[in-house]
Symmetry: none
Subunit: 188 residues, 4 copies
Amino acid sequence: MAERREAILDAALACFVDQGFHGTAVPQVAKRAGVGVGTLYHHFASKDVLVNALFRKWKEAIARAVFTAFPPTAPIREQFRVVWGAMKDFALAHPDAFAFLELHHHASYLDAESQAMDNRLKDFTATMLTQAQADGIVKAGPPTLLMELVFGAFVGMIRAHWEGRAPLGPDEQDLAEQACWDIIAERI
Amino acid sequence: MAERREAILDAALACFVDQGFHGTAVPQVAKRAGVGVGTLYHHFASKDVLVNALFRKWKEAIARAVFTAFPPTAPIREQFRVVWGAMKDFALAHPDAFAFLELHHHASYLDAESQAMDNRLKDFTATMLTQAQADGIVKAGPPTLLMELVFGAFVGMIRAHWEGRAPLGPDEQDLAEQACWDIIAERI
Amino acid sequence: MAERREAILDAALACFVDQGFHGTAVPQVAKRAGVGVGTLYHHFASKDVLVNALFRKWKEAIARAVFTAFPPTAPIREQFRVVWGAMKDFALAHPDAFAFLELHHHASYLDAESQAMDNRLKDFTATMLTQAQADGIVKAGPPTLLMELVFGAFVGMIRAHWEGRAPLGPDEQDLAEQACWDIIAERI
Amino acid sequence: MAERREAILDAALACFVDQGFHGTAVPQVAKRAGVGVGTLYHHFASKDVLVNALFRKWKEAIARAVFTAFPPTAPIREQFRVVWGAMKDFALAHPDAFAFLELHHHASYLDAESQAMDNRLKDFTATMLTQAQADGIVKAGPPTLLMELVFGAFVGMIRAHWEGRAPLGPDEQDLAEQACWDIIAERI
DNA sequence: AATGAATGAGGCTTCATTCAT
DNA sequence: GATGAATGAAGCCTCATTCAT
């Protein structure tokens, strides 16, 4: 049943976020999902397959959230605000998923397909910036670097919130959004 | 001998950065350090003690680098540039150490003392910002949030460089430094 | 399966009697039981849990053997003979179990429950003696001391037999039983 | 120095009584003795050599105590009383040594010489009994069996005292001595 | 003689995975 | 499809012993 599959993915997410991939035992995931170990292995051939499936599920989810909200014809400043807002909404709605995706270092067990997916959103964003640089709205320089700075700031904010070190009410969200824009904005 | 202790810490750093804490076997660290397992346990009572010693060693090193460079009487913009530069120099000089400290999620095995040390530098920076806010140079809002945005952007930049996704020559460094300052700078 | 559990307990008994608790390796027990190490840990959470389970199993067995045989209404001399005989039968039928229970020093790994069980049979016997002292059949003095003397003599006999230093045919058994009774008997 | 040798033997006794031979680590003995591990190995070639030396030291001590006190020309009842008393004095004066010798199962690591020494005292006692049987003072039957019963009763008494289960003041000692004699005494 | 850091085989235990039910 | 007992390789750590100082 697809229901069990989801239960397993949810349990795996909770465990991996708490203890990391190598720190989590497969039977522990099965127990938390309320299924037998054998059942887990019916749905996922191995622990590696499971973690990759989990990674892709949520990378897809966040990408879908962003692409769905994206306004292709709006001005760049508005596009930025929407993309930033979609990611913020996602991170607040699924804190564990975001923590799993961005606060952990997955390199040693992600397969090629998962790693490719990792960069899809970033590539899209970098492209967006290149256009805006031509218009003189965004600072000159490697768009990848600018995008990584923005994304890093965003992750830093979410991490601080997640770890209880920073409030994130509406006012703080507006402040942070503007601050992130200032990273790339060409000064008038 | 203190020499062996350092060899073990170096080997542990290399292993932990590659495969994570739980993904690294103790005998693997010993082998890489060129010592027997027993010797490793002679110097560090357990794998947990080892990882905490490693964490503190490098957190102290980076804090020392920043505090040594810090110019107490300089204007805030200059202080920012110096602190940012000290961290950048450190990250480029000790990429593994920086990756270990900031690119991995340590929560599940750091002890209280290590966790306290984790925030020392951030607290200092936040304090620095509070002063500058009063002068109207830095944006209003929770200083912690601003500082986390800056720190996040910095880590994002280093991570991208570390993973080969962003160049970081002198020009890019200047660009990134200015972009990080713009995060917190009050617009004129 | 309960069958495997018993196989493990039997193997543990054989190993512990030969080499002692600390002198026995867990994989050795598993091998002797014909199971994998993991299976052993499936049934017993640790080596300590295993040795306590083994201790209780046989303490219960010997207590059941004695209590089942005990004739509540018979005269004291007959009660003594029956109890002594039940213990002797048990010791000869399960020499390894008796050696494990009484010839080894368990203090350093028995838990509270096992230790409590250790004294149940002795307490019962001491109570039995108190009654007989009132009747003038048994020597005056601390019943615990008398009981320990009898029990010690019994263990010494079994140990000597177990180590091949004393025969224990029917005649010797009768002699020993009478000798043990003489320990506590009030001389006419 | 012989002094250090004794310190090591004393420390080993304390450790072995508490945790058994296999449960005691050599460095632990060295630490308790206040010497380095290397020093311990200068005096005793191995852990096995150490435990055998310890065993012999105390087996010799108890044998000497008994043989010194033994009155060759006294009547058997008096000889018994003296031997019993010498052993009792020894057990109360050196409780750890007695516990080590008689409450632990040493078979798996004692060498041939130690094992031979183990039975010297018992052989002597058995011989003593044979003479007395001829005189009709002691029960007929295998002298070894009678002796083991007496020795077992004695050990049971000391063990109960050692474990805090039986008082052993002057009155109790007299009672126990008489009870032990009754084990072998021919009833009038 | 005395020391204790160093060693690595071996001990206890975990865990990814399989398979009979 | 679901289960969980069973497995043994591999992980963390200990400890008897050595050896350079």
